[in-house]
Amino acid sequence: MSSSTSIEQKLSILRQDFDQSFARAAGGAEQAELDFLAIRVAGDPYAIRLSEVQSLHADRKLVAAPSLLPELLGLSGFRSILTPVYDLAQLLGYGPQQTARWLVVAQSASPIAFAFGDFDSHLRVSPGRVSAPETEHGNAVVGGAVQNDGITLPLLHLPSLVEAIAQRIKAFGPSQER
């Protein structure tokens, strides 16, 4: 009896929210909030700025390719663009993971994607709940944190990851890239 009542209440809330979404004026308070993707890498929660992401995918087919970077899992096609996919866990210092079904394509000049284990949710939080970049962390790819429901999510900085990979590729040189 109580479970059916709870479901009816949820249904009522959903209907109400759905109806109110049409009633709200365009723009407004949402502009002040920031969008994040809550993910898990090797079981640890992280957050990624949605503005740094070009697209989110799941269960995409990867084609293995030889590379000097062990983090490269393979190549995949996104909107007809051949994109290298790197294992985010290995880039963050974790060991190789069994599953990395989720992919984010980073906003970058050259196409690049990162694979990770789990996608939790899309977060929309106020700027006050986003902390400043943590310089003392010693790793540029992780800067700051996002507070959501009492949980602190380390904030990944995808441009830094892209830059780091570019630096490493450059370090190998063009002949080695071949």
């Binding site: 759905f18 949605l50 989110l56």
Partner: protein, 502 residues
């Protein structure tokens, strides 16, 4: 050996000797008398033969005298003796021939006499005829010729020889008769003396032997009567004890009869209770059978429940599969909404309103995802509950099967109990019947014991009579001993007094 002969045998032996002696004497006397009689008969026979010969001569003389008178007188009346003598001569001659048939010499003389007689009679006949026809003178001459006289002389000589023969025989037969008479007298005299001596000696021996034997027997009878008195006394004492024991046995048998009747009544009650138990066992058997059918129904229902629960589990899996699709759709919708949001953000102001829509879509997708998770959780709960229910139901089914098996064993045990109760009922009936038979047998034993007790009393009375009879027998034996051996009777008195004391 003769000492061991019985009383009757000795008497028979003694009387037998006497009878045999008398028989020998009688037979000898009889034979001697028979010989005397025979001798006398032969003497008479000889006399008869001589008489016949005298008659022959007399008739012949009568015929000659009659013929002579007729010759002299010529009177026919003188011929009457002649006519009477003719047939007598024939008859006498025949008699003589028959009387001397055993004497060949006399037969030969008779054979020689017959022609002479015939010639003599023929001469007499011719003489008479001459006198009658020719008169006296020729007849005289004929007679004077002497033919008739010569024939008569020969006849007299021949008859005289025959008479001499008979006279000799008569003398000899007289001697034989006298000898036979002497023998008869000797046999009678000496046989009588011998018989008297033998009977006297045998009687003395038998008397002595019988006296000795009867005396010994009387002594035995006295001893036996004394023993019989003692035995009769013991028997009387034993009969009294036996009578007392029989009374005790009769009392015990009566108690046993009462106990047997109580046992029969108890056996009858046991039989009734066993029959009631058998009826209850049969009712219980039916109840157990119904219970087993109910358990089988429960087992079938549990199987149906298990089947339905497994089906429910499969349906839950199918719902889970569908939910996976819904979840994946929600996930893909969320991805699309996120990507739309990104695109809207990249479109700047133009994409703001699209971003709002995308955001709502994302929210819906999030909620769908959340609801999907809840549903998955609920489905997991349902599946877990189904699994638990299935396991519980299977456990229940196994318990029901175990219960059914247990019920089967209970039913079998009930059936066995029912059978054993039937056997018990039969055994109780047999016990009841046997106990009744036993009661009847005990009653018969009681009657028999009563009869035996009565017989014991009668035996006691009979023993008293036996005792009195033994005493009388002792007296009788003493009297008999006194009659048989007077000289030993005084010696036997101490024993008698002993027996009296006994």
């Amino acid at each position: 050996m003769a000492i061991n002969w019985t009383f009757g045998r000795k008497l028979v032996f003694g009387f037998g000797i006497a009878v045999l002696t008398l028989l020998v004497i009688g037979v000898s006397g009889y034979r001697s008398a028979e010989r005397v009689i025979e001798s006398d008969r032969w003497v008479s026979h000889t006399h008869e033969v001589r008489t016949k010969m005298a008659d022959l001569m007399s008739f012949l003389k009568d015929a000659e005298t009659a013929a002579r008178g007729f010759v002299i007188t010529g009177d026919e009346a003188f011929l009457e003796p002649y006519r009477a003598a003719l047939p007598e001569l024939t008859k006498v001659t025949a008699d003589l021939r028959g009387l001397t048939v055993d004497n060949d010499a006399q037969q030969r003389r008779l054979a020689a006499l017959q022609p002479l007689l015939d010639s003599k009679l023929a001469v007499l006949k011719r003489t008479i005829e001459l006198r009658r026809t020719q008169g006296f003178e020729p007849t005289y001459k004929f007679v004077a010729a002497g033919e008739g006289r010569e024939l008569m002389t020969e006849i007299r000589q021949l008859v005289g020889r025959m008479d001499d023969e008979e006279s000799t025989l008569l003398k000899r037969r007289h001697v034989e008769a006298e000898l036979s008479a002497e023998n008869t007298k000797t046999v009678i005299l000496w046989g009588s003396l011998f018989g008297v001596a033998l009977v006297a000696g045998g009687g003395a021996l038998i008397s002595r032997s019988l006296a000795t034997q009867i005396g010994a027997a009387v002594h035995h009878i006295q001893s036996s009567s004394a023993e019989l008195q003692s035995a009769a006394n013991q028997q009387a004492s034993g009969a009294k004890e036996q009578s007392s024991a029989m009374n005790e046995i009769s009392t015990t048998i009566s108690e046993l009869l009462a106990t047997s009747r109580q046992i029969a009544e108890s056996a009858r009650r046991v039989s009734e209770i066993a029959e009631q138990t058998a009826t209850a066992a049969k009712t219980g058997d039916l109840t157990v059978e119904k219970g087993r059918e109910s358990i089988n129904g429960i087992r079938r229902q549990v199987d149906v429940i298990v089947h339905h629960m497994l089906d429910l589990g499969k349906k839950s899996q199918q719902i889970g599969s569908v939910l996976e699709i819904v979840s994946e759709l929600a996930e893909q919708t969320n991805i699309l909404a996120i990507n739309a949001t990104i695109e809207a953000a990249g479109a700047g102001e133009a994409g703001r309103r699209f971003g709002v829509v995308a955001d709502e879509i994302r929210k819906l997708a999030d909620r769908v995802g959340g609801s999907t998770k809840e549903i998955r959780g609920l489905i997991d709960d349902v599946r877990s509950a189904v699994n638990t229910t299935v396991m519980t139901t299977e456990t229940g089914s196994k318990a029901v099967e175990a219960g059914a098996e247990q019920f089967g064993r209970v039913a079998a045990a009930f059936s066995q109990i029912s059978g054993q109760v039937s056997t018990t009922t039969e055994a109780a009936r047999e016990i009841e019947l046997s106990t009744k038979q036993q009661s009847t047998a005990v009653e018969q034993v009681n009657v028999a014991i009563t009869n035996v007790s009565q017989a014991t009393k009668e035996a006691e009375i009979s023993t008293g009579q036996t005792l009195r009879t033994a005493v009388e027998l002792s007296h009788l034996s003493r009297e008999l001993l006194r009659l048989v051996q007077p000289q030993l009777e005084s010696a036997a008195r101490p024993g008698t007094s002993d027996s009296k004391r006994n």
